[in-house]
């Protein structure tokens, strides 16, 4: 799995690709929480994620909770059908904010 972080359009964008599992989810958690420390909006680009398990979902939920406490936007962009299936099973599809791609997420109000 690869993780990269960039600043775009007033938000921090965390770009993930590959498989998020028990081995790789600590990297996701660290990237998400680090990005939230700057206090602004965070967009997680999940377009390259082909697999996510419950430990990956937990990392995203933790990010969601921190963002909510800070009053910051936390947006999941370009979520693949496989990842959305897991989020739906966990009944988180009504909890997270989703956008079809990063550009749409960045065009929104934070």
């Amino acid at each position: 799995m690869t993780v990269s972080i960039s600043d775009r359009g007033g938000a921090r964008v965390v770009t993930l690709s590959g498989e998020i599992d028990l081995q790789t989810s600590p990297q996701v958690r660290e990237a998400v929480l680090d990005s939230l420390r700057q206090g602004g909006a965070v967009v997680v680009d999940m377009g390259g994620i082909v697999y996510i398990d419950s430990s990956g979902v937990a990392s995203l939920v933790e990010g969601f909770q921190v963002a909510r406490r800070q009053g910051a936007a936390f947006i999941l962009a370009a979520v693949s059908p496989a990842a959305m299936r897991v989020l739906q099973l966990a009944r988180l599809d009504k909890v997270f904010t989703f956008q079809p791609d990063v550009e749409t997420a960045l065009a929104g109000e934070f």
């Binding site: 498989e19 028990l22 081995q23 398990d53 990392s59 897991v86 099973l89």
Partner: protein
């Protein structure tokens, strides 16, 4: 048709073993005619079972051990046995959590039960800690005998 063994894999009970376990289960499912979505669901259930062992059975208990994965199939089902060598647990104490409580963690058992038709802890053989059987009915075949 009786049950036939498809794959046996014994790996260290560590996070880095999970990818190989997923690959074996996925290929076993696809080779039985399942589609990618069906295979994904069984793979996720098995992954969740294995990571529970890695995290709770081994790491939190301060011990190390292997994971034994056995995949078998009959005409209508795929079955995966996950055997660990951790301390035996009481299946009656294993519960899914309330999903309305949005918090990190605790989803694994819920996913295992939701994504399979059978999620049963069996009596372990001598020397083993726990044996979990995860069974899932294969998609029905069409009139050509193929799984759509």
């Amino acid at each position: 048709m009786g049950s036939c063994a498809m794959a046996v894999l014994r790996v260290p009970g560590k996070p880095e073993s999970l990818r190989l376990i997923r690959a074996v289960v996925r290929e076993a499912a696809l080779s039985r005619g399942a589609d990618a979505a069906w295979a994904h669901d069984l793979v996720l259930a098995v992954d969740e079972a294995c990571q529970n062992v890695v995290r709770h059975g081994y790491a939190e208990a301060g011990i190390t051990g292997d994971l034994l994965i056995e995949v078998a199939a009959d005409a209508e089902n795929l079955c995966v046995h996950v055997t660990d060598f951790a301390h035996p647990l009481d299946p009656a104490t294993i519960r899914s959590r309330d999903l309305n409580d949005v918090r990190p963690g605790g989803l694994g058992v819920y996913l295992m039960r939701t994504l399979t038709d059978e999620c049963v802890w069996e009596a372990p053989p001598p020397g083993a800690g726990n044996v979990l059987r995860l069974g899932k009915r294969l998609p029905p075949r069409d009139e050509k005998g193929e799984r759509p």
